[in-house]
């Protein structure tokens, strides 16, 4: 079965997000009432898996092994749709 999984990698709370901070400042300069911006990275992964949970397990492993660095990153996984 083919699954489409979204993995979102974001910074753990408490870690500074220089890109978010810079972007906040530049949007404020354009007079938007922005309080805070968090930048995260979204991977849309299409993969072959036995089941929905198998797809989730595989992507979880991908996040642990490569896509996220546990020192600073959190990640969330969403199995978006099956075909």
């Amino acid at each position: 079965m083919l699954y489409k999984v979204r993995a979102e990698i974001s910074l753990k709370p408490g870690h500074s997000d220089p890109e978010g901070e810079t972007t906040t400042r530049s949007l404020k300069e354009l007079t938007y009432p922005v309080r805070n911006i968090g930048v995260s990275k979204m991977y849309t992964i299409t993969l072959e898996a036995k089941s929905r949970s198998d797809a989730e397990t595989k992507v979880d492993e991908m996040c642990k092994r490569l896509l996220a660095n546990p020192t600073k990153d959190n990640y969330t996984i969403q199995v978006e749709q099956t075909q």
Binding site: D17, P18, N69, T71
Partner: protein, 272 residues
């Protein structure tokens, strides 16, 4: 072993771009350095034929995902066994800039409990954000464990340039203090950013150019044979590379970066 017999392998992959000047520095220090593509090391060459491995600066695989992450996993997946042996035999590994990022992502640094499957530290996006190319000052913090700094007196200040956008050394918030203590206890803290007078900037820009925790610029593994650092010693090898060499009546022959190459040469000649 004689210096001329020391074989250095400088590893490159798509996006590596500091290999030539790194080779020049090793060769100038009279070692036999060669540059080779990762594909060659996987297919035809044997890592264990070399005395030291160098992962130079650049943007391996475009620094996609995180700087150094993709190449680190690739190295450990395809050459993990050889690397393990290499490390066990205490043959030196040097990671400069992108190479440091690779060593962290590969779990080869800091190695509190051996090579780790997941990174125990991170080199995050700079604060202030963005790429930064500048000369900075470093203090040598090593008490002698690190084989790349044995010729530098503890506490002395050296000047070397940095050029990166992801160089903010950090531990996970929960373990920050504990890990720092381990670094210090194991004599793994090698370089800290400092002001020109040697005082620590305590995170303040620009002396600490990227917001690194505890002003950390470089660390080694517990054996002292693996060094990773963000600054580029190969760009401070000769006197004419210094940013203000013109102020001297006579140009100094060498820059501060050279001592790192000399130190490892000395270690290798004595040990093997």
């Amino acid at each position: 072993m004689k210096r001329e017999e020391i074989r250095i392998f400088i590893l490159r992959v798509g996006g590596t771009n500091c290999d030539e000047e790194t080779k020049r520095a090793f060769r100038d220090s009279r070692m036999d350095a060669e540059v080779g593509h990762f594909n060659q090391l996987v297919k035809e060459k044997n890592l264990l034929d070399y005395d030291a491995l160098v992962i130079p600066g650049g943007f391996s695989h475009g620094d996609y995902v995180r700087a150094g992450a993709i190449w680190a996993k690739q190295i450990m997946a395809k050459l993990g066994k050889e690397v393990k042996t290499f490390v066990d035999e205490e043959r030196p590994i040097l990671g400069i800039c992108n190479g440091f990022q690779v060593l962290i992502e590969a779990g080869l640094l800091p190695q509190f409990d051996g090579i780790s499957n997941f990174p125990e530290a991170a080199l995050g996006a700079n604060i202030p954000a963005g790429y930064n190319c500048r000369w900075i000052h470093l203090t040598n913090e090593s008490n002698g464990r690190c084989v790349f700094t044995r010729r530098i007196r503890k506490g002395s200040i050296i000047r070397i340039p940095i050029a990166h956008s992801e160089g903010r050394f950090m531990f996970s918030k929960e373990c920050e203090r504990k890990y720092l203590e381990r670094l210090l206890d194991n004599d793994q803290l090698v370089f800290r950013y400092c002001q020109h007078d040697g005082k620590y900037p305590d995170g303040r820009y620009p002396s600490n150019p990227n917001g690194s925790f505890y002003d950390i610029a470089g660390i080694c593994d517990p054996s002292g044979t693996i060094l990773g650092l963000m600054p580029h010693p190969e760009r401070a090898y000769y006197g004419w590379q210094l940013p203000d060499w013109t102020k001297n009546d006579k140009i100094p022959a060498f820059g501060d970066g050279r001592i790192i190459f000399e130190s490892v040469a000395e270690y290798l000649t004595k040990k093997f």
